[in-house]
Symmetry: C2
Subunit: 343 residues, 2 copies
Amino acid sequence: MAANRRPTLADVAREVGVSAKTVSRVLNEDGPASAETREQVLAAVAKLGFQPNLMARNIRVGGPDTTIGLVVPDLGNPFFGAVARSIEDTVRDRGLTLLMGSSADDPDRERALTDKFLSRRVSILLVVPSVGADHSHLKTHRATGLPVVFIDRPGVGLAADSVVSSNRTGAHDGVAHLIAHGHRRIGFVGDLPVKLYTRRERFAGYRDALERAGLPYDRSLVTNAHDQQGASAATSRLLGLADPPTALFAGNNIVALGIVAELARSRRKDVAVVSFDDVPLAEALEPALTVVAQAPEEIGRTAATTALSRLDGDRSRARTITVPTRLIVRGSGERPAPELQRA
Amino acid sequence: MAANRRPTLADVAREVGVSAKTVSRVLNEDGPASAETREQVLAAVAKLGFQPNLMARNIRVGGPDTTIGLVVPDLGNPFFGAVARSIEDTVRDRGLTLLMGSSADDPDRERALTDKFLSRRVSILLVVPSVGADHSHLKTHRATGLPVVFIDRPGVGLAADSVVSSNRTGAHDGVAHLIAHGHRRIGFVGDLPVKLYTRRERFAGYRDALERAGLPYDRSLVTNAHDQQGASAATSRLLGLADPPTALFAGNNIVALGIVAELARSRRKDVAVVSFDDVPLAEALEPALTVVAQAPEEIGRTAATTALSRLDGDRSRARTITVPTRLIVRGSGERPAPELQRA
DNA sequence: TTGTAGGCGTTATCAA
DNA sequence: TTGATAACGCCTACAA
């Protein structure tokens, strides 16, 4: 039960009777080595179960480590799960390993995570910025060549690349779709906090659509929710108004779940719904859920390739890349307004 | 635009005019330091933006790094996303950082990931074993004190802890529920490959339930699917049989999505369904989806706490911890069989 | 083809 | 209270 030390290069060298450098050469296919030496070394490596210490190697070689740091609000949110998978797929053949953490949208936790990643000398930093976070502390790192890419929302206080969805036009399109089907009172259920970038942009798209259609903006139709239960409650509140909305626009996937659940619970089939971001089983609902779909895989891939090209020396100006959304018509967004109001 | 070196302990020391060790002492609150020195050091640290190199520190200190390695089949699967979040929550206050990777259920990729993690000297290894993977190569590491915990499925060739759902009894309960509602021909749509541990266990539970009820086992009612589309196809195939099932049991969450989608598409309201593993919006379906719910948060937490207690010196025998599942009755599992067959 | 010396950034040890 | 020296495991540079 001895907690034995892991074997080192020197242990392997001793086993074979050569110098550590020779072992290093064989393993890294650096410099020459006689066939016999090579064979003996490999045998000893297998026998001892030697695995090179990547941290020691990195210390010596200098430069960034072969890791990539990723901060998301919540590992359990399917949207960020899909983004993370896509990032991993993209960087795999570069041999990069993923360091991940959830910020819970807390700037302090985000900072703690990025600091840890920086202390580990990650080669790339990918961050979904939390509300209220400031990223000016990353300036020095950017200057020394660390690629930083913001995902889903732009960063604050730092000129770095970001990859976001077409939130404003996407939301506009979804709301315009409802208007096209005769709705004049359209509720908006957004995320919290209201300062959240995606919430602001999507809300702006909502107002754009109203304005272009010449519809009045009614503040009482706008509400917010932090989670699925909150969205259900918000839905119920909206529908209980004296002059309730005939359609609802969901500001994100979690909110959509809450709205749909509440409508099912109260057996309200007459309320039209369009959601920003797709959800599983959207097609199996009755009616199926019309959504403005995001492309998490493309977002992740774009963020990763952008970061990699920076790593490879791309010094062009920081870009904001907008990944288009797509309206998927399935039924819930096409329920007609119960009565077309007279002008 | 100079790609400047990151500041080191020596840089800070030079700035203040003390030795590197003194700076180290201040930062680690090791040994004594005069108030003045401390203040000067902290000022210099802030000025230079010094962040200790965790890799260098670890080299010197020896022992495992403050990272934890986690291998899952797919970062994008909500089940594993929930498990990962729960693990992170559990280890956060120990200061551990998560190293993650997707194996795609490929033993080679799993091995590549674990090898990378081991080369990084993770303090804990958490693995969802791939089908066909062998874990005997981890014996040495276990012997040197590395905690290894398998999640969702037991490992092969290594006596280590594992945390799994009560697959067999859970599946039994779900199928028995269908039987109790009069169904005698119950289709089973499992995952692929059929050798997958969870698939085998759940299938065994299915057969248990049939046997206890004295129902015949009909091989033509058993099918499998790799993804949602495959599950839809399998569903359609089963329902097209000459003597089709009146109820379906879904072997996992992805399969459930496929079954529900296909039933919605073909407007089959008469087929009863119970799913192993819960899905979002299950309550909003019509009828709502009856499930055998797993507890991913509890699975993650249990795996993490087990590993931490091993890290803290627990040398007791390896355990297999079974996290109970729970039948959630919502409607789809209670649709009665169309006609009760005569005995 | 192989080995030696030295250093990466940090901390342990011992001395001052 | 502080510092010099050595060492962690590995690689670079140079020499043999």
